[in-house]
Amino acid sequence: MLDLGGTEGPWWFFWLIVVAQGAGALAVLLGAVAYLTYAERRVMASMQLRRGPNVVGPFGLLQPMADGVKLIFKQILIPQAVNVPLFLGAAVLTFFLALAAWAVVPVNAGWVLADLNLGVLYLLAISSFGVYGIILAGWASNSKYPFLGGLRSAAQMVSYEVATGLVLVTVLLQAGSLNLSHIVEAQRGGVGHWFIASLLFPMFIVFFIAGLAETNRHPFDLPEGESELVGGFHTEYSSMPFALFFLGEYANMILVSAFATTLFLGGWLPPLQALAFIPGPLWFAAKVGACLFVFLWARATLPRYRYDQLMRIGWQRLLPFTLVWVVLVAAVGLAQGTLPGG
């Protein structure tokens, strides 16, 4: 909750610090989002033996700026039959939620905007709102293809959230806390103590697959599905409203990677104690970058699933497997007496 007592100086000083911290975090995040789009094009280009963007600036490094300027100066087209407040609100909501979730992600010991005790639940709550941006965009567009995209996405995100929730249960059974900083601290002691190196390794895979599905990334990008649905839920969007969806999707990718890093890869902790001289945020960034690379790799490699395959993977494969694994992790914890509080 709000702790206004412990701060030195007048009340506005406290608020100023909070706002400055938030603005700083957002600036870093938006920079990362911009260069993730560049990285995606370069990585996929080299995987497909192409060059990718290499003209604007040295190595094409100014390409994201050029894209941003282009999107800002385009005319905003609003089709006649759309529900204007919801049409624009959906784009704003998607972008807002993708940024709001970052308040609880710790990038170093104590480096977190809001050190919530229930940080995991906060992240889960924010990510479960994400579906509204897409479903409302589909409905407010008042057009067939966006509507189909919105419906697909609603079913898809709700389905994969169930598996994600159960994966979180297994992590919590090991860490004994819902505070993200505490979860990272529970993995202290080198790469052998990270949760990915324990019984939870299959859960990391499940979490990553569900993360692909929840961010609507390949091979689960059916809400967009260019070959069937034109542009999916954002068919009718142009210019900045479209850019908000686009940036939101990439910010969500970084968020899922950061979440996976925190839960399974030891957050800001170094893999070996001998490497502890490298500051934590760099380790955090490196691990998030490695996860993001797999996102891009999957997009360059895998074909899109059919919708019934998507549903089968979610409900008939991931969910039962995760459920069994929850029981297994709990049983092993009980036998070894390592369950939190037990």
């Binding site: 909750m1 919530l116 889960l124 479903i135 609603a154 079913a155 709700v158 089968r312």
Partner: protein, 210 residues
Amino acid sequence: MPADLFFYPLALGLLGAGTLVIAARNPVYAVLALIVCFLNGAGLLILMGAEFLGFMLLIVYVGAVAVLFLFVVMMLGVDEQRDVRRGFLKPVGFALAMGGLLFAQMGAVAWLWPTVSPGGPSDARAETAASLAQDGGLQALGRTLYTDYALPFQMGGLILLVAMIGAVILTLHARGKTAARRQDPRDQVRVRREDVVQLCSPPSGQGIAP
């Protein structure tokens, strides 16, 4: 007082959105107002220190239940969406009775609450307060649900399971076992070239028998 600063906007938002849920002409707006209701309610719970309940309200109701409401309402045709308020006042007596019952039950619980806990009134209050201060009510809630009320909790789960099985059976039955179209990925993978490819040169004007 920061608490007051947040309480009144949240409470007013809750009441306003609640009114809009039943007053909105467009059912999609009604569901959106319901979501705003949940958000404000969760805000109030978090303000009280019951953070776990607040987040659960968000995850379960906003994240799943309201999505399904929106899903169904969005699929209504334009004619069905035109005015959901027709016949609005018909069941008012029933609604008042149910509302009265609900409030009576809540009042009874609030009145009797300190004595229903097995540890005695002061014990339960102290434990809840300590747990609220420490972890947002997580421990007190878990202990109560899984020890004192384990059986009713399990029965609640079973009732939900029955409802779920009922829904599955309804759809299976309505379509009939043969009418349901299924895709078996194992069959799809096992297909061989001989099963699906036939090379032939059909004579002009005659074609081939299927």
